[in-house]
Amino acid sequence: MAVRPSLFGVLLCLSSPAAGQIGSVEAPEVTVTVDDLRTPAWPAFTLLGVTPTDIAQPSTPRALAVALLSVVQERRTGLLPSDFALEVAPYWLFDHPDLGFDEYTQPGVLQSMAQSMTVSVAAGRAPTSFDESVSVEATDLAVGVRTTIVSGRTGSSFDRVTSRMRVAHTRGHVLVALQEALDPPDVALPPEMRQALEALQQTDVDLSPNQYAALLREIERALADGLTSDSSAVRLRNVLDRLDGENTATIRRLSLEMQRIHMRRVGLVLEVAGGAVVRASDGLQTTVIRSGAWMTSGVSGERATLIGLVRLLRDRPQNLAVDRTLIDVGLKGTVSAGSLNIGTEGLVRTERSSVRRSRPTWRLVATFDYRVSRDVSLSASFGKDYRDAGIRQRNVVVGILGVNFGFGDPAPTWC
């Protein structure tokens, strides 16, 4: 994938009206799109309105215990820790020797839910300006869960890389077989040298047993090569070693590429997430001040994608009578034809609170994106944006025409 170190665009905005948002979850003056409302990777961070830069991601039960223990030890005041972010995938805390490649890449419903489930936890000090009556020691703790119920299937690009990986593995086995055929006979070394090597094998060293054994084999082989009169065998070994090294690097590149493109799924995908924020203040008093639920479903092909989503957010500041709920329902379709991408998205937003019930507002926008060259693309949006009932706008039109320029060298492509 090409990475652009810098990118800027020229935008001509005909109109860009505001849309009401909820609490601190989103900035109040930003128009949200379907992509903004998709199931978040970390529901807890989204609900808390934070973007932590330091996220603890333990991958073993021991590491999880250490992470939780450190939080408890660092906590000084209040019921809950502050400034803490953690993400854990419970399934991957443990070894799964019976989970094969095929089942992992094309999972059923239960397997998909298990292997994709993540739990995010975040904590931070409650903003004192948000609620004057809250104690300065109040802390917000957010917990979220996310999982993919239906995973679709891997795309054709993944299948191609898998096929190349199979070739690289076969090449690796063939090269090892040929290297073994060139191994010098055991009698090549004098007995005293062999005894010394055997004694060295029993010596305690700081290296791992495998590393040390490989090191001794390498030296032994070099010594045997030095004794042989057949220099062609040495040359052959050098060629095989070089090919083997190149092939090992290829396998590594392919592994990383498979990791990267594994989540590009085609077919039906269904993701869900949910979470809540609890405010703890005055020692033991706790209140759920915010909660949310997301469901995103999509059908993707090689050239077309259809995404539908539902998002529900409930905001209830502690000690305040106002209780707001936002319900968003969205649909987005995109079609690609060569360098041209055409899309349409529609969103309906319903806001309800304990003091007023607003009429649903909606947004319907068509987007066009045309890639002129590798570094230049044209984009345009046109449609109707949210209507703010508070200022009684009627036909709010959104129109954006943009030119994007990319600079910098593309990242190296794999293989």
């Binding site: 991958s59 995938a89 399934y91 991957w92 070894d95 799964h96 020797p97 019976d98 989970l99 094969g100 490649f101 089942e103 992992y104 890449t105 292997q115 898998t162 990986m165 199979r166 593995h169 076969t170 690796g172 086995h173 063939v174 090892v176 077989a177 090992t248 396998i251 590594r252 590149r253 392919l254 592994s255 990383l256 498979m258 990791q259 594994h262």
Partner: protein
């Protein structure tokens, strides 16, 4: 029959050598030979497992030999040091 399988969703292949046959690739219920002919012989299995799963660094392989008096199963586990790395498992089977 010999089966070699890899856990944690990782990608792996094997090279199997018996006195009479050999195979490179996936190994699933692969016939190693007749019991009487194998007595006293050795089979070598070398497996490469690539870390294609970014959710875990654990790699594992299990080797199952069936069709004899008892079914033998051996599991090997390891952990890659870096993303995308490969590990090699080497098994020698002596038929008695």
């Amino acid at each position: 029959m010999l089966t070699v399988a890899f856990g944690n969703g990782q990608f792996g292949t094997s090279r199997v050598r018996t006195p009479t046959r050999s195979r490179i690739g996936s190994v699933k219920r692969w016939p190693v030979g007749e019991g009487g002919a194998l007595r006293g012989k050795v089979a070598r299995i070398k497996s490469i497992v690539a870390d294609i799963n970014d959710s875990t660094d654990m790699v594992s392989a299990w080797f199952e030999l069936s069709g004899g008096v008892v079914t033998e199963r051996v599991e090997l586990h390891d952990r890659v040091d870096e993303e995308g790395e490969s590990k090699v498992f080497d098994i020698t089977v002596r038929f008695v």
